[in-house]
Point group: C2
Chain length 339, copies 2
Amino acid sequence: MGAQQAEESRQSHGDGEVNHSMAGSEQLYIGLDVGRTIRGALVRADGSILRQHRVVSEVSNARIFIDQLIDVIKALRADTEEVTAAGIGWAGLVNQREQRIEVNPNLVDVSSYDLHAELERATGFTVVIDNDANAAAYGEWRSGAARGFNDVFYVTLGTGIGSGLILGGQLQRGSRGFAGEFGHFKISDDGLECGCGGTGCLETMASGPNIVRRVREQLFSDPSFSLSKLARDMEGILTAERVERAAIEKDDLALSVLKETGRILGNAVASVINLLNVEVVVLGGGVMAAGDLILEPIREAAQRATLSPALECCRIVPAELGQDAGIIGAALLARDMRI
Amino acid sequence: MGAQQAEESRQSHGDGEVNHSMAGSEQLYIGLDVGRTIRGALVRADGSILRQHRVVSEVSNARIFIDQLIDVIKALRADTEEVTAAGIGWAGLVNQREQRIEVNPNLVDVSSYDLHAELERATGFTVVIDNDANAAAYGEWRSGAARGFNDVFYVTLGTGIGSGLILGGQLQRGSRGFAGEFGHFKISDDGLECGCGGTGCLETMASGPNIVRRVREQLFSDPSFSLSKLARDMEGILTAERVERAAIEKDDLALSVLKETGRILGNAVASVINLLNVEVVVLGGGVMAAGDLILEPIREAAQRATLSPALECCRIVPAELGQDAGIIGAALLARDMRI
């Protein structure tokens, strides 16, 4: 994206107001963000959202789940003639070149279906499937905090830690589409066991559930913190959001855990800047709801651990599109695949 | 590079024999690898070396140093008419887009000269300057162990630890040419101070001098090892090469330090594979002279710490071009810049 195009995107994205009268004259795209929830949106070519639709994902039956995806696409399309393409960000490893879901740990197993062919046949649209973090990275790049940059590292901090990379103005998916597993950066030698089978992965310390785990462990060891009243029966009560709220209200424990989390993340981010010399690191996902309480410790640690020439030409910024990054990015992937 | 082209490159590179009679009919390129020594070669379009030249780099005077570079290029050209371009791999941070050396810690300061313009003017050649690890990565990609791959992580393990990245069939230099600083991957929280000002960098454990340091520290603590007789007056005597030779001769200390070094490197390599989903990791540089004694521990650690889908499509192999990777790569950069 050239500078002029980036500027146009910036101007038009800020519209906010939904202007249905525009719909008759412009090309529209559908974007889906598929995880435990299927979130979908009808998106203008400039990345702004015209309307949204969401359903809770079916977890036991692949056929019903696929029909849900088809229904969401059809519901978003409604009677709009200008839609011919849909993009899907999928919470799993996607071989984007072959449009095949390769590893699908969080959703119902769809491996007995050719999902891509099913969706194209049922909707009549051109469909592109990509990894959800790639879609979100693409959204922030084309229409969010990374507009106008060529070398971008996008990180999403949530239940897991994912990332997307734009280098030399190209979304980099790796040889089979598996790039971006920043959550499985090895940050310590004698670290905790990770769900992936390894030990000491970044995710074992800095994901939402592991922030909660670390708070909980300290709560049991020191009952004087204000969060301690939640210590009993904490399953489902002590959440990352609640830790963040406590930190905003200046709870010492919540603040110290977020600060330490930021330090750990910042060190790993520095390794990536040293390796890739990106211009901008964009931090998104639910954990970033803590704002500066997590962002500043990330920046401080990254600044200490990044080589100065690479540091001088790199900024570390919060994402702009929030939860919509994935649906907007998926729609814009559909837009750009068709050029 | 397509598979067929890769195969042709493989066949022609193996020639070995210098056939001067070919020189009259083909385009040739000059490659320079510039560090404490200036190594230069006249290289065929297929990556094979026709002749070499080397001098020790002038360390105190920039003008003399630049004249050395010009003299090496002219000496290699001799009376060969078919040379019109030279590539230079430089031991420092190079802004390749602007052909400017930005950070130059190991060589005499040339910042008061426009090196690129000087070299083009004095030689009449088209000159391209790049980072030395990028040049070596390019050499291994175009004419060595990574022939035919699109997604390559090349690591050079020597006095420092550098790397070069090819992703999606493109050499990735980062936004200002500073990509590839794998030596400054942060591998531990409470690690040693690094020359870069940070702590816990990969280089503080796994570079040649730090392998020597770790052996020396253990020697002083246990005089029963066979290397112990070198413990006194070890400056300049106990080298990484000697540690490797001792390991090959089954010295327990040398073996254990190399094994631990391999484990540390393998963990960092795994993080990169998880992030970038490369098809091949190529390991070069002087430390790799230890062969399987370092390669196997790297592979073992990387296999344990890499996500299985990314691991299944990635191999970890030794470099093929040895010390010539940089000069061959620099020459081939000159070849490909001119297309």
